[in-house]
């Protein structure tokens, strides 16, 4: 059974004197235990908004989020019901997500207590978690004594202290340099496998997602445009936006190749283009794309795509007799 399920999630930001901006429109997907789902897209596409909505940090305009089969209530002033504590979040910036004035060990112990697992062996448990993230002697130290990568690992340890079943990680690597990125990514991936957690991994860096995610969800301007197993999606993207994102990633080594440019800018989400939201920037847009908004439809086993051209191509392949 899926751990976290989003069905028809729409998130709107209210505006003074204007209709609300719909930052996420009708997004649906689910996470299974032991699975890493990568959520990618350009900045402003709504991926962070969707991540926050997935843990209840933002109210939904419509749709539902269920965690282990129960509808997730939005986070209020009171304590979150214990049933939802195994749903946790890792934030982008470990400089601001850790308390600078408290010792690392104390902050991790808080996580254990909040998770309701407090026992007489707090110190021992903290020690085990620190050992697991490769910083066994960190308990008595303060966050400023560590590098960015080490701090992010400490933030991960604090989340793990709550024994999560599902973690939403919002750009957890983007404040780090390549070597530290590799460390934190490997740590997250191996924890997901060991503990059979599910993880929603939000990132603008496609190459990292390609490396660690089992499935990938691509967003553009608030809507999901393609989903599928990461390898298939990378090798054979169906949506022109996915293809554009992939060819913009610089490749290391070999002959120097300039990455491909995707012309234009992400439009203002308050005034999305009519029809397919991607059509003004799309290299293969047709007349119909300006009029009709494509739905996210199945495109082969475990894949979905929201593109009229791709859907027609697939229909033609499935039924070569049709005109």
């Amino acid at each position: 059974m899926d751990v976290l399920r989003l069905s028809g999630v729409t998130v709107a930001y209210p505006r003074r004197g204007a209709p609300p901006v719909r930052a996420v429109v009708d997004a649906s997907f689910a996470l299974e235990p032991g699975e890493i789902v990568g959520l990618v897209g350009e900045s402003g596409c709504g991926k962070s908004t969707l991540g926050k909505a997935a843990v209840g940090l933002l109210p939904l305009a419509s749709g539902t989020v269920t965690f282990q089969g129960r509808p997730l209530p939005p986070l209020g002033r009171g304590m979150r019901p214990p049933a939802f504590r195994p749903l946790q979040m890792v934030f982008q910036d470990p400089y601001s997500s850790l308390n600078p004035r408290r010792r690392v060990g104390e902050q991790i112990a808080d996580g254990i207590r909040l998770g309701g697992h407090g026992s007489g062996r707090l110190t021992a448990e903290v020690g085990q978690l620190l050992e697991r993230i490769g910083l066994p002697a960190a308990a008595r130290q303060f966050p400023h004594e560590f590098s960015g990568g080490q701090r992010q690992r400490i933030a991960v340890a604090r989340v793990l202290a709550a024994r999560p079943a599902c973690v939403v990680a919002d750009e957890p690597l983007s404040a780090l340099d390549s070597s530290a990125q590799a460390q934190v990514a490997n740590l997250l991936a191996s924890l997901v496998r060991e503990m059979r957690m599910a993880m929603l991994f939000i990132s603008h860096d496609l190459s990292v997602v390609r490396q660690i995610a089992d499935r990938t969800v691509v967003m553009y301007l608030g809507t999901i445009v393609e989903t599928g197993p990461t390898r298939q999606l990378w090798e054979d993207p169906q949506h022109p936006y996915t293809a554009a994102l992939i060819s913009a990633v610089p490749k290391v080594g070999g002959p120097a190749v300039l990455p491909a440019e995707l012309p234009g800018e992400v439009p203002d989400p308050a005034r999305p283009p009519g029809g397919c939201r991607f059509h003004p920037r799309c290299p293969i847009a047709e007349a119909a794309c300006r009029l009709q908004e494509p739905g996210l439809l199945p495109a082969g086993p475990a894949r979905e795509v929201a593109c009229l051209v791709a859907q027609r191509r697939m229909a033609a392949m499935a039924d070569p007799e049709a005109p």
Partner: protein, 324 residues
């Protein structure tokens, strides 16, 4: 290289710390020819930004510099402040990671794109405005005229970085120093900026020094690479050769840390952390993190020795053992 625009010779920058004077940049030498793109790579704290700042006289007050940095034959490190000011912004321009540090939030784009042009080149207001419009078109800002009367906050991050580059180009500099110019941007926008830098070099003969930890970026545009570790250059050479057949274990470790094609190992982190200023290990600074370290590595700093044509590496283990 005969006609290098910039020749840096044994540049050192020492900072005063609690444990005395410590070299943040240690005897760094490189050259940049006209129209060439040089990449400087390394982890955070490797001294790459300090190297760039020292060239422009923007290193912290109280830091000690030594060595030479010959720009068209004049030593930037020995110039009087006034002379350096006439070069800085005019002939050498700087682009930073966050365009909001370069752009004034309360001034219209026009003011920011014309003020220094009028100051440095002494052109009229109308001429400066005409040039600003052209520049915005060069960096592919849609509706350049409309952009002139707008404020920085009205643009996206990628557009702001383009405007910051336009600002840097306004006085037609010969050398552009770009410190992590695409790190905060989306890959699609990054691709646009990299293409822009490549076009400027081809069409205008602008030389560029790009500083970044992202070897992917450098692989796409840089002709030459310097890899820095703990303030020193540990490997230097042509980009293609250096990335396909690295000779220094640190360069190889940086490459192995990158996410690669599915199925390959990829994202193998480098053990340990870079040394902090004042705690640089004796001998080869990389030896505590190096899988191939020998006793001799702890004894002396290995020289940056020639290992191929135009390729230098500071490692006594040569050739490197095969990857496991």
């Amino acid at each position: 290289m005969v006609d290098s625009l910039l020749a840096v010779e044994r540049l050192s920058v020492a900072l005063h710390t609690r444990s005395g004077w410590q070299p943040a940049v240690d005897e760094v030498s490189f050259e940049v020819a006209e129209g060439q793109i040089l990449g400087i790579a390394g982890e955070s704290g490797s001294g790459k930004t300090m190297t760039a700042l020292a060239l422009l006289g923007l290193h912290p007050a109280g830091a000690r510099t030594s060595g030479r940095a010959l720009f068209e034959g004049r030593d930037l490190l020995a110039l009087a402040r006034r002379d350096l000011r006439s070069i800085r912004g005019r002939q050498i321009a700087l682009v930073l990671q966050d365009p909001m540090t370069a752009l004034h939030p309360l001034l219209r784009i026009e003011t920011q794109l014309t003020e220094h042009v009028r100051q440095h080149l002494g052109v009229s207001r109308d001429e400066a405005r005409r040039r600003a419009t052209e520049l915005l078109a060069t960096v592919r800002i849609p509706d350049p005229r409309g952009a002139l009367v707008a404020y920085p906050h009205q643009f996206s991050g990628g557009m702001r970085q383009r405007i910051a580059i336009a600002m840097a180009l306004a006085c037609e500099p010969k050398l552009l120093i770009a410190d992590e110019p695409t790190t905060a941007l989306d890959v699609t926008v990054q691709a646009g900026i990299l293409r822009l830098l490549d076009r400027l070099r081809r069409e205008r003969g602008v030389s560029v020094v790009i500083i970044t930890h992202d070897l992917g970026v450098l692989s796409a545009v840089a002709d030459q690479l310097c890899v820095m570790y703990a303030g020193r250059i540990v490997e230097r050479g042509r980009t293609g050769e250096l990335l396909s057949a690295p000779r220094h274990p640190y360069t190889r470790a940086l490459l192995d840390a990158l996410p690669m094609a599915a199925g390959s190992t990829g994202m193998r982190p480098i053990t340990g952390t870079p040394p902090s200023l004042g705690a640089v290990p004796a001998g080869c600074a990389f030896h505590p993190r190096c899988p191939f370290a020998q006793d001799a590595c702890r004894a002396a700093v290995p020289p940056l020795a020639e290992v191929g044509e135009g390729h230098r590496s500071a490692c006594i283990v040569d050739p490197l053992p095969a990857r496991t």
